[in-house]
Symmetry: C2
């Protein structure tokens, strides 16, 4: 029996109509569908494909043992996640070796800060694996603002809100256009870094881009708002435009 293929399928930013034609086809025809989720939650990736799966599709929920309970820089965090990824990779590998094709649902684009990467690195030398790129959350975010993000020779810098404030501020000062992901509880730090870089007045907070709950707010007016983890902060470039 030949091995099945693991498909890392990017679902895009959340609106099911923003899935690619290929992703739509793979999801609807899948016999085995795997997805990450926080224990006790339905799962954001699974929610995007609600109503699309075949009635007899076998679902594999991969439940994170930890998300924000342990600080990112605590070695226990990496150990815990590493064991988890090894475990679920083993389950998917066994399915593929048994001949099953498995569609792994990925929010956003799988190879752009995606959880799927941690499966990919553990599976790629053992079973066939294919990746379907997708519309990123940041594309949906700048589209939601109704303004192009980059013009001419603008330099775009993509930053994680989890990085140290001084590092954020340095990059923010040096680039023309900015995207900050993983904002959530880091919002006050992100705001302070933008202020230090002199760009707070041009920044936008975009929550739930492309989804029903989409909100676009000038960051300076966001106050003490609790931003969802997947919020994105944007600064538009102002380069050459004939």
């Amino acid at each position: 029996m030949s091995a099945g293929t693991i498909h890392g399928v990017g679902l895009g930013p959340g609106d099911p109509e923003l899935m690619s034609v290929r992703a739509d086809r793979l999801v609807r025809s899948a016999t085995h569908v795997a997805y990450f989720r926080k224990a006790g939650r339905p799962g954001r990736a699974r929610a995007i494909v609600e109503g699309m799966l075949a009635p007899d599709a076998i679902e594999i929920a991969m439940e994170y043992p930890v998300t924000t309970e342990i600080p990112l820089d605590d070695p226990a965090y990496a150990d815990c996640l590493s064991g988890f990824y090894a475990d679920v990779s083993g389950r998917l590998r066994a399915l593929a070796e048994g001949g099953a094709d498995v569609v792994v649902l990925c929010e956003g684009d799988p190879f752009f800060y995606g959880s799927f990467m941690h499966l990919h690195v553990r599976l790629k030398d053992h079973v066939p694996i294919r990746v379907v790129p997708a519309i990123t959350g940041m594309s949906a975010a700048w589209t939601a603002t109704g303004m192009p993000v980059t013009w001419g020779d603008d330099v775009l810098c993509v930053l994680m809100g989890t990085a140290p404030e001084a590092e954020l501020a340095r990059h923010m000062a040096d680039a023309d256009a900015l995207v900050v992901m993983k904002v959530g509880r880091n919002l006050p730090k992100v705001r302070a870094a933008l202020d230090a870089a002199g760009k707070l007045d041009r920044a936008w907070l975009v929550e739930c881009a492309s989804m029903d709950e989409e909100r676009v707010i000038p960051l300076a007016q966001a106050g003490d708002r609790k931003a969802p983890y997947f919020s994105i902060v944007l600064v538009h470039g102002r380069g050459r435009r004939p």
Copy 2:
């Protein structure tokens, strides 16, 4: 009569199956389809949708008066393009005011270094306009390399090969992951800047990502290769990976 809507529809990197479900639907049902092209060429955006248009769809080819004949920094270049964008915006506006919905075909993502932005800025205050985001060429490029582009808190910097070499080298040295677009004739400059930043040995040249002609080459082995204008140079990040 109510005005029609101008739809800026991102088609993604080139593979028609990587169009979004929404883009696919809008393109197939369009009554009026507009697209940029170089005079005398079929047009790259138009080529992506070959075979998808309704038989009676009205096509509006918007032919660039100039592409690389005049240097980017020559004021005549901006004047020439500005007049062109004003002219074609006027044609699309007249169609919309006459009640027609117009689908403007856009390679890549419309608001990410896209030509459509120059129509959008001239039309948005006059007629209804909607934008469909898309998979970027850079997403297709890093997917083609078979390696994730960013991990953990990696900083990603997106640069244009048209920028000055010193500026390229400075940003290349300061970021973890790199994307360089608009490579083409700028390839020797991009290579020199990567060498100065100490990252040439980790760089990849990706041509025609997602298309039949897709090629992935270590940049240090690309020699004097004439890279197509839409080639992308990539350096992968090496951040936290549990």
